[in-house]
């Protein structure tokens, strides 16, 4: 669901940007969404896409049309997400010292299609694994 929401927001970017950088932008947004929340990243992509269109000299009308279309689609998706609440799975792992067992568990999650984000602090390592 989160991936779909971010993909939808990427529509705010011009076609040529999406063709070149779509996956890179989405993966960056997924990384940051792990830290700061998906809604913030979704809005950031919308704003960034519209700014990019303005920077490339798109007409005001075209920018407004894209903004309106994306906002409508986003509203629909948010409504669907709310209606289906709780479908995203999340597991947290952390360890201090020898982490072989935990790392193996996280690796197996990744193989099973989970998305895991690693955070290394001076005295511990933690992972946040999610699956849509």
């Amino acid at each position: 669901m989160r991936r779909r929401l971010l993909d939808l927001c990427l529509l705010a970017y011009p076609r040529e940007v999406r063709a070149r950088d779509r996956e890179h932008l989405r993966d960056l947004a997924m990384d940051l969404a792990d830290d700061h929340g998906t809604v913030r990243e979704a809005l950031g992509l919308l704003r960034g896409g519209l700014t990019e269109r303005r920077r490339r000299g798109r007409t005001r009308r075209a920018v407004i049309a894209v903004a309106a279309g994306t906002a409508l689609a986003l509203g629909g998706l948010t409504w669907t997400a709310t209606a289906q609440g709780g479908r995203v799975e999340e597991d947290l792992f952390s360890c201090a010292g020898p982490c072989a067992d935990t790392e193996a568990e996280v690796a197996s999650r990744v193989r099973d299609g989970w998305t895991c984000t690693e955070r290394r602090d001076p005295d511990a390592v933690s992972w946040r694994c999610t699956r849509d």
Partner: protein, 116 residues
């Protein structure tokens, strides 16, 4: 040829340049470093960071240095160019001299309270 190495940069761009001063870094690493460097005050979204990096690239201040896949996610690395290092140093120097001037004024006002 970069447009102008002493062009005024936004606060976000300045933090991004400072973050890359230590070496190449991927977008997510830049965002986290900027947040830490600014004491949590500057929190970049992917959209903001992407736009800022594109503008800095267009100005010749940073350049992509490769892509790697980490845990299934694509990460693009960036590094400072020579004009980027120069722009960062110039900007920091400008801030330093502004801070010195303003600090001097505040200190003088403390010494002579009530004087206009």
């Amino acid at each position: 040829m970069p447009r102008c190495i002493v062009a005024r940069v936004t606060e976000q761009a300045l933090f991004i340049l400072a973050s890359l001063a230590r070496g190449e870094l991927h977008g997510y690493g830049i965002a986290r470093d900027v947040e830490e460097l600014s004491d949590g005050r500057v929190r970049l979204t992917a959209g903001t960071l992407y736009g800022a990096l594109n503008r800095l690239s267009d100005d010749g201040l940073v350049e992509p240095s490769g892509e790697r896949k980490v845990q299934g996610r694509r990460r693009r690395y960036y590094r400072l160019t020579a004009p980027g290092h120069a722009a960062l140093a110039a900007e920091v120097e400008q801030l330093r001299s502004a801070a010195a001037a303003l600090g001097g004024r505040v200190a003088a006002a403390r010494r002579t309270p009530g004087l206009a």
